[in-house]
C-alpha cells in the first residue's frame, strides 16, 4: 500500500473532465430548480394571501409537510412513488421537481412575509385606480415583493446548489456521483471527492458573498 498522503495530480487531470461534466449537470439542475421553486413559491404565496380559508389551510399543511421532512425522503417519494401512479419521468427531471417543491415551500414563506410587509397604501392605491385581480398581483404586488425579498431568495438558490448532491440517491449523474464513479473505478476516493468538495465551495462561497453584499447594498438604499 502506498503512503497515506500521496496526492496524484495526474489522476486529478484524468478525472477532471468527468468531474467538471458532473458539475455542469449540477449547475443545470440548480438553475432549473431555482426557476421551478420560484414559480411554485410565488403561486403558493399568492394562494396563502387570498382570503379563502380552506385553500389557505391546505396550502399551509402542504408547506409544513414539505419543510418538515428531509429532501431525501421527498426525493424517494417522487422517484419511487410516481411510477405507481403510472407517471414515468426521467430521474434528473424528478430531481429538479423534488428540489423545486422542497425549496418552493421555503420561498413561499419568504414571499408571504414580503407580501405581509407591503405597505397597506399600495393595496389601497391600486384599488382606487381600479387595478384588481391578477393584474394587481402581477403588476403591483409581486414586483415589489420580489425586489424586497431577492437577497433571501438568493440564499435559497445557493442552498439548492448545496443540496443537489442528494440527487445521487436517484441515479442522477451530477458532480458527487461523478466523483464516486471515478473513485469506485480506481479505489482512490481522495482526489475526486476532494476536488468535487472544493468545486462546491468554489462556486457557493463567492455567490453567497455576492448575495450578502448585494443585500446589504440594497438595505442601505432603502
Amino acid at each position: 500500500m502506498r503512503s497515506s498522503f500521496d496526492w496524484d495530480w495526474a489522476y486529478v487531470q484524468d478525472a477532471m473532465p468527468q468531474l467538471l461534466g458532473g458539475l455542469l449537470v449540477t449547475l443545470r439542475i440548480t438553475v432549473l430548480a431555482i426557476g421551478g421553486s420560484f414559480v411554485l413559491g410565488a403561486l403558493l404565496a399568492t394562494g396563502l394571501s387570498l382570503n379563502k380559508r380552506p385553500l389557505r389551510a391546505a396550502l399551509s399543511l402542504w408547506i409544513d409537510l414539505v419543510r418538515g421532512s428531509p429532501l431525501l425522503i421527498q426525493l424517494f417519494f417522487w422517484y419511487y412513488g410516481l411510477p405507481q401512479f403510472g407517471v414515468f419521468l426521467d430521474a434528473e427531471l424528478i430531481g429538479v421537481l423534488a428540489l423545486s417543491i422542497y425549496c418552493g415551500a421555503y420561498i413561499a414563506m419568504v414571499l408571504k412575509a414580503g407580501i405581509d410587509n407591503l405597505p397597506k397604501g399600495q393595496w389601497e392605491a391600486a384599488e382606487v385606480v381600479g387595478i384588481r385581480g391578477a393584474t394587481l398581483w402581477r403588476r403591483v404586488v409581486l414586483p415589489q415583493v420580489i425586489r424586497d425579498t431577492l437577497p433571501s431568495i438568493g440564499n435559497y438558490a445557493v442552498l439548492m446548489f448545496k443540496y443537489s448532491p442528494v440527487l445521487v440517491a436517484i441515479t442522477v449523474s451530477e458532480a458527487l456521483s461523478a466523483a464516486l464513479e471515478v473513485g469506485g473505478r480506481t479505489f482512490r476516493y481522495l482526489e475526486p471527492l476532494t476536488v468535487v468538495g472544493a468545486l462546491f465551495v468554489a462556486v457557493s462561497v463567492p455567490v453567497a458573498l455576492l448575495i450578502r453584499y448585494a443585500g446589504r447594498k440594497h438595505a442601505s438604499a432603502l
Binding site: 411510477p83 405507481q84 440564499n155 448545496k162 466523483a179 476516493y189 465551495v201
Partner: protein
C-alpha cells in the same frame, strides 16, 4: 455543537483581527460546502489517513461540525444584536472579559437565539436522513429496505414524510415553549435581520 458554535462566535467578534479573519474564513468555507459531499469525503477519504472510525461516529462528527458553523453565525448575530451601549457601559463600569459576557451580554443575547437554534435543530433532524448514504441504519435506510421487500413506495415514503413532520413539529413546539419562558419583558419579539438570514438555511 453548541459549545463549538459559541466559541466560534466569540472568536468572530474578538478584537484580534487575525483570529476574527481566521474563524470567519473557516466558517464561511464550511457553510459553503455541500453536506453530503463532506459526508462522503469523511467516509471514504479519512481512512486513507489512518483515521478509521465507525460510520456512526463519522456521521455524527460531520453533521455536528457543520451545524456548529451555522450555530456560530446565529450566536454572532445575537451578540451583535445586543446594543453597543451595553458593551460600552459595562466596560466603563469596569466589567470585562468573561464576566462581561456572562453577566451582561449573554442574558440579553440568549433569548434571541432560541428560535433560530430551533430551526437549526430541525435542519439537523432532516440532515440525519443523509446518514443512510454511509451505511447507517437510520429511518431512511430502513424504509428503503422495506420498499425493496414490499413495494408500496408511495405509502412507505408518504408515512415517513409524516413521521419526520411530526418530529419537526415536536421540536418547534418545544422551542416555542422555551422561547415563551425566556421572552424578555417589554421588548419586541422581532428578530434582527441577521438572524432571519440563517433561518432554514
Amino acid at each position: 455543537m453548541v459549545l463549538v458554535g459559541g466559541l466560534g462566535a466569540i472568536a468572530m467578534i474578538s478584537q484580534r483581527r487575525w483570529l476574527r479573519l481566521l474563524t470567519t474564513m473557516v466558517l464561511e468555507l464550511t457553510r459553503g460546502s455541500a453536506t453530503l459531499v463532506v459526508l462522503f469525503w469523511a467516509f471514504y477519504v479519512l481512512p486513507r489517513f489512518g483515521l478509521e472510525f465507525p460510520p456512526v461516529v463519522v456521521g455524527v462528527a460531520v453533521l455536528g461540525v457543520i451545524e456548529a458553523c451555522y450555530a456560530a453565525e446565529v450566536f454572532r448575530g445575537s451578540l451583535v444584536a445586543v446594543p453597543k451601549g451595553q458593551w460600552e457601559a459595562a466596560r466603563t463600569s469596569g466589567i470585562s472579559g468573561l464576566a462581561l459576557l456572562r453577566r451582561i451580554i449573554l442574558p440579553q443575547a440568549l433569548p434571541l437565539i432560541i428560535s433560530p437554534l430551533g430551526n437549526l435543530t430541525i435542519q439537523l433532524l432532516k440532515f440525519t436522513s443523509l446518514l443512510s448514504f454511509i451505511s447507517i441504519r437510520d429511518l431512511t435506510s430502513r424504509a428503503l429496505q422495506l420498499r425493496y421487500h414490499l413495494g408500496h413506495s408511495a405509502l412507505i415514503f408518504g408515512c415517513l414524510i409524516v413521521v419526520y413532520f411530526i418530529l419537526a413539529r415536536a421540536i418547534q413546539f418545544a422551542v416555542q415553549r422555551i422561547e415563551h419562558r425566556f421572552a424578555i419583558k417589554g421588548r419586541g419579539r422581532e428578530l434582527p435581520e441577521l438572524l432571519l438570514a440563517v433561518e432554514g438555511a
